[in-house]
Symmetry: C2
DNA sequence: TCAACAGTGTGACGTATATCGCACCCCGGT
DNA sequence: ACCGGGGTGCGATATACGTCACACTGTTGA
């Protein structure tokens, strides 16, 4: 539970609180452990909990009637999800599935409510988080309209690099933990097209493909290709 | 200024306040009048004001480098926009342009801040509004991925019908005030394709096309076509 | 140790949709 | 009254991408 506190401290929601408040909030946190591929909740479920990722990665997905899937986002440590149901008590509109083994902190609506009422910083922090998410989502939307598949793949890889990238000898290692199928669902394209785009980038020497990871070797060119 | 108060009273942000608070907030409101086609603010501008539409319609647009445009949304009376910059003080990420003559109430960051601190209902209301927007935006994103252009057009018309529709003798009148070009930008498609989709719907007797409006005559079929 | 299977790589083909081209029509301004 | 331009209707052509098909590889686990 020590690393729990460690990561929670960095989560925006807790950062806003004084030591006392943070301790009180932590007390009502429940820990959840998920194995790779395990579902935390599904579209349509009732839900009144918000989660902060302590370790691992989680994907948020939506399914069409015919079974096709679409990834809304992939989240990593210290990131938050499931807040929508707190302010808008309707069934979940996406499923949450662990991409890797993961540990989460779960926080109920009722536990959080008093903090919203008494500590304006908390609501402000939540508002910031939502505003940010909305901006990002709008960006993704514009990309879907304006940019072709290779461009979206490049953009998505750069985004993943920002969040999960580690600088190395031979380039920027992005261990995204996604299959190409999942990457395809994330950019709204078919697995095959994404595969071909990746192959093309590799051929040009812009990146190297590894298992569930890529190594970016020419970030500048990737950036130009994305827009 | 009487109708101003009338519409403001209905706006979610004000609904949450007691009479006293609402009066105080209204006092710091500034009124803005826009002519059709006039720009309120542009992508990249600094901005620390939020707007509530009192009358008329406003579109939020983003432009690609090559000049193509994409409509994020079209908003009508009592709807709010520009809040993102309040919690996340970065330049505006979209332009706001009047689709019809319009009157807006503008509210500065600094005017609103004390209310967020002291009246938790206000932040709660804002959180609800943002959560709702996020859900809608995610819906639109899924549509872009899953649904073909005619489907998206049908869906968008139904959405506009919900917000601007008026039941009439001969069907549900949706006076959206958009050119087909704008409608196309709203669903992320070309003007021509949207035109053909509309023509197809009209041919089947599902709707009638009027100047900057449509009359939905078979909502059920439209709804089935959308998903 | 091998079977089974999930994930990946790549070509052939079909199709939705963008792009281009043009004709028409309505409406507002001179 | 008429001209001009923005908005619309619609066919011909080009193309990016999805779908299908199959072969290859690596990993898991019996």
């Amino acid at each position: 539970m020590d690393e729990t506190n460690e990561v929670l401290r960095k989560a925006p929601l807790f950062e806003a609180l004084d030591e006392e408040g943070a301790a009180a909030l932590r007390a009502s946190v429940s820990e959840v452990r998920l194995g790779r591929g395990q579902t935390l909740f599904s579209e349509g479920d009732e839900g009144d909990r918000l989660y902060v990722i302590l370790s691992g990665k989680v994907k948020l997905t939506r399914a069409a009637v015919d079974g096709r899937e679409n990834l809304l986002s992939v989240l990593g440590p210290s990131e938050m999800f499931g807040e929508l149901s707190l302010f808008d008590p309707r069934p979940r509109t996406a499923s949450a599935i662990a991409v890797t083994d993961a540990v989460l902190a779960g926080l109920g609506h009722d536990d959080l409510r008093p903090f919203i009422a008494q500590q304006p910083q908390v609501s402000l922090q939540l508002l910031k988080a939502l505003a940010n998410r909305l901006r990002r989502t709008n960006d993704v939307m514009s990309d879907l309209v304006f940019t072709d598949v290779p461009g979206r793949v490049a953009g998505q890889l750069l985004d993943l690099a920002d969040r999960f990238g580690k600088e190395g000898e031979d380039g920027l290692h992005v261990h995204h933990d996604l299959t190409q199928e999942e990457l395809a669902q994330l950019v709204g394209a078919s697995r095959e097209t994404v595969n071909k785009a990746l192959a093309e980038f590799a051929l040009r020497g812009w990146l190297r493909i590894e298992a569930k990871a890529v190594v970016l070797m020419d970030v500048e060119r990737m950036r130009r290709r994305a827009r």
